[in-house]
Subunit: 334 residues, 3 copies
């Protein structure tokens, strides 16, 4: 619950309207009520804007005339909205205090102000810093470090020796530090290579539900500060991801790949092992990175669906591209 | 354990044979024994049928002569078999009653006849309706509703505020209602947009193991009645899926996509965000939907494997398609 | 902690150097210290080798001159390293003994020397053999068998009736034996086909984090001895995988596919249902197997990313391949 005065302060905007109006929730241009904060940054929605019932609107100075209600003028309405949305976060998600059934090793160092919900286990010599919130049925392995204010939601597993920075959020079902996938062929099958490295996660990293990040073979798997990973992402052993890189759902990165800073990966993009991708690379959804990318820019390799009858012909033609290419060459020679 | 008389009643079929014979299990045409029920609906298997040892066979009237044992004539043997299979479900999967170690908030409303296995947690103000069965190590967040007779298997996480209909089944490891993936770029990295919507799941919905369904940004992520989702599916925030749509394993749907009724998605199909797909669309396995689909029908974009030597040439040709196309054009001009 | 003498014995190699030197850890050519074991099997790293500080080096006889420190000559340095790495495994990962909060059914048969961590549940009539280690928050369903020395890590779910061999390792979040995905269409939606088979896993099988293996419809889903599955793999009902086949992360195998022995699948390869793949087939990363493969060899169908501008033209050309092919044909006819 915030007054317009307080909202304007938080985002550093210019308030036009009643400073004492109270906002209790967030709304889209369609759903906002008198109690809601909303924002406008897409000119295709000007009609919705003019009819919106929001108690206050975040928008740019040049759009000010388009909305007659209370408004706050800001340079980047979407960013301002993002910051304010955090004020409306439902803190009741988390159990406050340490539940009686949480099992905390006597050798674990748990700071004041840590919350741990029921049936979670914090093993020996781990260190849980101030303000950390841990959900239910979580396992924090021995010798791990969880940085200040990090949130670990229900049913997460953190393997021993993992290090997680401050201000991170790990969603349910994520598994951090399971064994990397390494085997040597032998005459009798596959011989396991023990993975004795661990996982090192920076500050302000978000990790989505059921995402897996394996521990390193000898050195660590390293996730840089500010990295955002969506759900069901697979990060193999020894991978390094640079600061502020963001990956949408179901991305997979194979072992020992090294990814730069500020990269963006669309959903289900894949990266083969032992590659290097420089900073500021965008890979579109379903893109398959089979070689190192040494130049910043945007890359893609997805083929959109066609009607099945057309697609069957396309596949047939792809399969005879070699013959087609030869034919074309033969024409050139005549 | 059912008599043939009872089986014929359940499926509304015509019994030819001994009404008192007792069936205790299910079998394929190959594996069925005298105690087994089996079915026949594929003419390529007529040889197997004639040799089958099943105690009773479900088949069409026109196939009646092909089997000499007890039989029940039905219009759709596969559907009749599906219904009967449910009678043979192993109910011992579930713990009956509420286990001593289940933690149920005093403000949760739990109906009679609810089962909850060990170490599960039901948080405040949630409502668990009659006949619900909850496995072990499950977390049901605050303010959630679980409809009548729904089954929630072990290690599932339901985030606060989720609503799940009647007669659903959620398999182990599924995560319902984790935060949608929304960030605004800022000069210092990615600013989180809090996701204050929730997840609303209709009646008779099945959700596979380790599938994730994120909560909405402002409004809800909505899964319609009768939807069937296989394992490891990722449904992003604000997605809407229409009634009776079915998705095979590993499908991914990006944020705010709107999918119609009775659609079918093959394994690992992908749908980009903010698209619309009309009713009765089929997308084949690995199909990549990059644009809205406005016409019912079947769509595909997968390329089957070739031998690596042929494929390397194919990729080379795909990569020089632009030059090939120009060459062809130049021939046309001469 | 091993002496060089003991190390040479384990791998059956020829020790050149001080037999009493003690090794306490593993290192790469770059990171190895005087306390470390390392190995050399890649001639591109000869420079690193000559500068390496390792306490002992595993290498081939012909490379012996390249390293001046303690060394052990072996036929296959990588395989020898793999075997030795297992001696350095961190056994502190596992809780020793049976935790007070572990719930073990009175009808479960648990051998001596089994370890079970907190809040795990072992249901009725299951059999847990000697040396098995079970993590925290694990559910072992009724009537399951877990073979000798198998490791089941935290938050794994094993459904009732599953059978797991000796010497396996199942990583966190894996779900074994959830319902296969089978429905019959009816006028009112999808009718569930109960899956009454189970999952049968051989000896020395590794299963990665958040991998799912569904139980069979009538017969079992079968994973052969020595199979290695990475994280987030989806194995559907009735699949059979032959001995020593290995699959990298995110592979998906649809229902009733039958895969041979010693096959290798790159990350995110897909296999359609009801196919057969013979022994010794390699499918490259992202390869899509749409038909049975009857000949051993290597197969692929992935298209690597291009710059987005080039790719857009490529997609346009793929979409008009049918027209291009016709044009080429028309030239041939003139």
């Amino acid at each position: 619950m915030l007054t317009l005065l307080r909202i304007a302060e938080i985002v550093g905007g210019i308030l036009i309207g009643d400073k004492d109006t109270v906002i209790t929730d967030l709304g889209s241009l369609k759903s906002a009520k008198a109690s809601s904060l909303s924002f406008y940054n897409d000119s295709r929605q000007s009609q919705l804007l003019s009819e919106c019932q929001a108690g206050v609107m975040l928008l740019r100075q040049q759009d000010s005339e388009l909305f007659s209600g209370n408004k706050i003028l800001v340079g980047d309405p979407y960013l301002a909205y993002a910051r304010l949305s955090q004020e409306f976060k439902d803190v009741s998600f988390h159990y406050s205090g340490i539940h009686d059934t949480a099992l905390i090793s006597p050798t674990a160092m748990v700071d004041d102000g840590v919350w741990v919900n029921a049936y979670s286990i914090i093993s020996g010599n781990s260190r849980i810093e101030k303000g950390v919130k841990i959900g239910a049925n979580v396992r924090i392995g021995a010798n791990s470090i969880i940085g200040m204010n990090t949130i670990i939601e229900d049913n997460v597993v953190i393997y021993p020796g993992s290090s997680i920075g401050v201000g991170c959020c790990i969603s349910s079902g994520a598994v951090i530090g399971a064994s990397g996938f390494g085997y040597a062929p032998s005459p009798h099958g596959w011989e396991k290579i023990e993975q004795v490295g661990s996982v090192q996660i920076g500050n302000n990293v978000d990790i989505g539900a059921n995402t897996t990040i394996d521990r390193g073979t000898l050195d660590n798997t390293v996730i840089g500060d500010g990295v955002k990973l969506d759900n069901q992402i697979q990060i193999a052993h020894n991978v390094q991801i640079g600061e502020n890189t963001i990956m949408a759902g179901c991305v997979a990165v194979a072992g020992s790949a090294k990814i730069g800073k500020r990269c963006r990966f669309g959903g289900r993009a894949s990266v083969l092992g032992h590659l290097e991708i420089v900073d500021d690379v965008t890979v579109y959804a379903n893109g398959f990175v089979a070689n190192s990318i040494r130049q910043r820019g945007e890359y893609a390799s997805m083929i959109p669906v066609q009607k099945i009858s057309a697609w069957r012909k396309t596949v047939a033609n792809i399969n005879r591209l070699n013959r087609l290419a030869k034919k074309i060459k033969s024409f050139g020679e005549t």
